[in-house]
Subunit: 357 residues, 3 copies
Amino acid sequence: MTVEIQHPDDKETPTRGTRHSFPLDRWYVAALSKEVKAEPLGKTLLNEPVVMFRTEDGQVHALEDRCCHRFLPLSSGTVEATGLRCGYHGLLFNGEGKCIEIPGQDKIPSRAKIHRYVVKEQDDIVWIWFGSEITSEPANEPPPYPIHGDPRYYFDGDVYHYDAPYQLVHDNLLDLSHLGYVHLKTIGGNAKIHMNAPMEVTQDGESVKVVRHMLDSAPPHTYSAAYPFGESIDRWQEIVFYPSHLEIWTGAVDHNSESVRDPQRGGFHMRGFHGLTPETEESCFYFWTMASNPSSNVDEIMEKVIAQTKFTFDEDKEVIEAQYRNMKRFPDKKSIDIHVDVAPNRARRIVSSLIKA
Amino acid sequence: MTVEIQHPDDKETPTRGTRHSFPLDRWYVAALSKEVKAEPLGKTLLNEPVVMFRTEDGQVHALEDRCCHRFLPLSSGTVEATGLRCGYHGLLFNGEGKCIEIPGQDKIPSRAKIHRYVVKEQDDIVWIWFGSEITSEPANEPPPYPIHGDPRYYFDGDVYHYDAPYQLVHDNLLDLSHLGYVHLKTIGGNAKIHMNAPMEVTQDGESVKVVRHMLDSAPPHTYSAAYPFGESIDRWQEIVFYPSHLEIWTGAVDHNSESVRDPQRGGFHMRGFHGLTPETEESCFYFWTMASNPSSNVDEIMEKVIAQTKFTFDEDKEVIEAQYRNMKRFPDKKSIDIHVDVAPNRARRIVSSLIKA
Amino acid sequence: MTVEIQHPDDKETPTRGTRHSFPLDRWYVAALSKEVKAEPLGKTLLNEPVVMFRTEDGQVHALEDRCCHRFLPLSSGTVEATGLRCGYHGLLFNGEGKCIEIPGQDKIPSRAKIHRYVVKEQDDIVWIWFGSEITSEPANEPPPYPIHGDPRYYFDGDVYHYDAPYQLVHDNLLDLSHLGYVHLKTIGGNAKIHMNAPMEVTQDGESVKVVRHMLDSAPPHTYSAAYPFGESIDRWQEIVFYPSHLEIWTGAVDHNSESVRDPQRGGFHMRGFHGLTPETEESCFYFWTMASNPSSNVDEIMEKVIAQTKFTFDEDKEVIEAQYRNMKRFPDKKSIDIHVDVAPNRARRIVSSLIKA
């Protein structure tokens, strides 16, 4: 805003990044549907402050989070039937970012408008398009996530804010061998089995898939709480990475009861959606849902599944934020790769090439 | 202080502004009289750390907030009959900034002195002179504010610290149309009436005056609580801006009972003093008092007036600090003016020309 | 760490100092022995993040606080019999900094190692060597501190973190005249006596010694609480500064009962060890112990001595941190020396010449 504020030194203005630090011309997760309610929802995404709101017709809209008049964040305003009203002088903006009312003034200047983001709500997820040009329109549809509409599954989820770059969360999710150390108390189970399970890593364009099977292992606490397993189970972990999100399908059947390679396998399933959207270069939002298929006591078991998932993700967040703080204390050191880094490194190369493009 | 402290990088020293970021050769409010009591009072004003204290003779003094020996802030020292004593090694400074005692040392070096600011206490306000040269003496008297001594009025006040530049508070006070949105619950009343009331804006040298009348409007909560109004009132708002402070005279009479243009009008009066003194380029102190003329139940009504005023000013502070945080998130965007900006823009032009001068 | 994190601006990486801001090729205090227990202990020393841990054989080890794989701080890992295991993927490091296990991987790359610091535990103090070259080995033994093993004395201590450079604590400890103002309520006693007591300052290489005697003075609270003094005492204060620590031997005998210059004098003794280790240019750790010689009610008196010492050191910390904050508000001003600055200034010259060397 260019009212005459004197700064002692331009360097005091926080250095701001741009969307161009990240892969563009694609959809990112902006919110879980359940987040966009009666109140406006403000978030910085890819370095840009965005406000989301839902009009009376049920549509979700996303605008620049700034009144064009005196720059109050519109996320501190109020949602009305047809738009979002600023809490300072009452300017009203519609879903296209156009100011449609200036209280006490007849004429609305044509410049009284703010940037409108393209959003699409689909599968209980609000997706937002970030193009390489700020005005570019979507070139495709958001990725489908049919699990949220699949009658076999129940799901819930949450949003975590990370004081760490989104790619550190990619690393973490693509490498489930950390379960044995970080998540010993919950989904971990036997550390050695985790570390020794062979991994199949394949790449398909912008996507990386990791498959691991851990046969004849002890059921971890979460699993036992949710499903009547015997003493030994065969577990599978299938991770699919996309630049905007990961899908992680884990589960187990009783040991030797059926093939863990059969996509129609039964047993206990946990299907995680993990949307990672940069907030800035140094922070991100982690939108997740966990879907499962309890055969009885659904409410109770889903409550346990979600509680355990949260507990686990809290453990991850603590580790990853500590990791990032420490990375900044050692800016000049190089890291050593180990066997678990194959998939994370492929994902990093993909993201890196998308940024350069 | 030039003891040998090693800094890894000069940039780590916080970038400091100077008084020259602000209009100079004028008086600013340094404190309300009631703030300067038995304890020393430290504040940064126009980027300069100042300590104020009152000696036994009742005089208020203002010094650089720094012992010349080892730089302990004198505001953490103790006030004595004739000066201010440092809490580290006991050096005693008089109101002129001269060190008059070094415990354990007979000779006091002539260099043992610190900067003395010119302050003048008048009308229950402590004014401080900031010249374009640090040693320059006042060229005039502080502005009078006789309301504080007027027997018809009772008043009280407070000091708010803002994490926002002082000019954003100017904007806010010069544009009372925000009352309908920001202060709906207190002094607001009907938003449309506020926004549609015609404004008369006049300028006289460094001063801007705004007059608005809102006839036949519903009495807001604050007014009804303080005065036995009927169902409809005629309100006036008279705002006078000076670079160092604003005077806002608002009030009401019962609808059509007498002229709101008569300076001798009766009814309910609220006369606000609003001293805005920059702390830094990005923060300020807001010294305010509110005077009123209740005809009965004085204590009770004044308590309500002050409580409602505080509530209102809390609302303003929240909005303005949010605005400033958001301005910094959009450093490159330009603002759009609307009808309410006439007076604020004149005030900005005045301040801007005073800084250039 | 050089995974591909994009920074909007290199300046966002915090400016990091190096060990070369401080005197090198010497031992610093890294910890009191009692700090190194079952959990790993992380501290930044001379700008370098260090983790300390004690293996089953009782040895204390110190490593770079960083897993070579993904940079999780090892101080958030777990101590095992023979080493320290990372909490992310379970890499195990021995006391030499060599990775001796990568779970799930047979071959351990030779590059999988981190910096090992030379530490030596002696007299209940853990000393760490900082050489001018990172790999340089100690050229001498850590300084002895036999008081901790002397059967005549009982001691306890603590570690304080200071948001102030270590040399400001040197200044404070070398100048006991501040007792009369900062510590009036505890060890202070009469301010004028403190300030007027003659000081003998002598230098011997890198060491500065200050001796003061305060004859015929009133016993301060701490002393009276710990020892059955009469109405008047003869006090001594002997301070010896070394670049890594100070030894302060204070105490008192009943007035005129024996010579305060006799090293074999009786009475009440307080022998302080004060290890000052820079954390960064702007912060430090203050490791202290206080030893005393109560003749009866040992537990009760030692508890009082330690409690009073803590109370006193809390007062110092408050003053010194306020001083440093204020020094940064006046970056361009020069300080004035007074009579108490002789010894602090000598110590500063020693440190300064050691840094240049």
